[in-house]
Symmetry: C2
Subunit: 201 residues, 2 copies
């Protein structure tokens, strides 16, 4: 009896939910390339971008990836995706900026990297461009943010761009179609657990 | 002159940052399988889990994926990863719960799926287990959360588990090593933009 009640309440609730969602899907009818920002201090920003790379490849799309700043300690995704014929992968940073400690050299590296990215942002054959850890180049003044925003605004209309990194600016958030902020609620590293291959600790 | 000042402040700051990070790496020396939760209303939770799948495959690891509840509208990641010899992929839901509107049937489906997951959680050859959208099975009472937590606690010691879905409970957060909460700051869908292949709108 109680189960039947719960079942019929569940059904009524799901009927209402379906109506709301169907209406939203109906209203969402604009197709265009999206700018998506993954920011915040939580873990999983780059992983999320690489999950979208996998998804796009599953749809037969071409993908360009540029990794800025961070000489990532875990390069499993690079090893995995680089071999795929539809992926172009560029590592543009030279290790952690707190390893190089040389702002002039880092700026030159970032500007060389930017030339490559600017090319991808003009190529309609590349349907998804991932700019991993791009925000740090603005924070440390390696790249001019307005220059980057201008290039993104002028990209091919159906090209998607995903930008990751902490501390996305107001200007970047305003330009974006979708912004997800990852909050660091609990972090294994603080409990003394070592970074391990594969997992985004 | 001003540039030189900025450069030397940058260098000093990066030297301090390197010291802090090196010390943290030094202290983090425990190796074990991690339980990672990706929750919150923002976009990118499942994408983040699938990025970790790519990373793990890049390290030659074996991966098991179970997708609960959601008959995803975008199945690009399934198309992409299913063909990989080191991936076992199970779709355990039968479409959105607001499409089926039948709690009894959904509960039976979830319990059948759970048998498969329980097997993966006892197999040390599977180094990463992704339980995508698992939290909804607790919310709607399809699976008993304590039963799932017990199985996770008894898994092989080096196996990583990633759980995604909105509304992760306190019990799940307490059991986890790392919890990232994705906040929905801005969402293209609300601006009338249609869901599009590849991108996690």
């Amino acid at each position: 009896m109680e189960t039947n009640d719960r079942d019929s309440r569940h059904k009524a609730r799901m009927v209402r939910k379906k109506a709301v969602i169907d209406e939203k899907i109906e209203q969402a009818n604009q197709e265009k390339g999206l700018l998506l920002i993954l920011t915040g201090n939580g873990k999983g920003k780059s992983s999320s971008a690489f999950g979208m790379v996998a998804r796009s490849l599953g749809h037969g799309m071409r993908v360009g990836v540029a990794q800025f700043i961070k000489g990532r300690s875990d390069t499993g995704e690079e090893a995995f995706f680089r071999q795929h014929p539809a992926v172009t992968w560029h590592v543009l940073g030279e290790g952690f900026t707190w390893n190089t400690q040389d702002r002039q050299r880092d700026t030159e590296t970032a500007m060389r990297g930017w030339q490559i990215v600017a090319g991808m942002l003009q190529d309609p054959a590349i349907q998804l461009v991932v700019l991993d850890e791009l925000t740090y180049t603005f924070k440390y003044g390696y790249l001019d943010e307005q220059m980057v925003l201008d290039a993104i605004a002028k990209r091919p209309p159906m090209q998607h761009v995903v930008i990751t990194g902490r501390g996305a600016s107001e200007a970047l958030r305003n330009a974006a179609d979708t912004v997800s902020e990852l909050m660091d609620v609990k972090h294994a590293w603080r409990a003394g657990i070592k970074a391990q291959a594969g997992i985004d600790l």
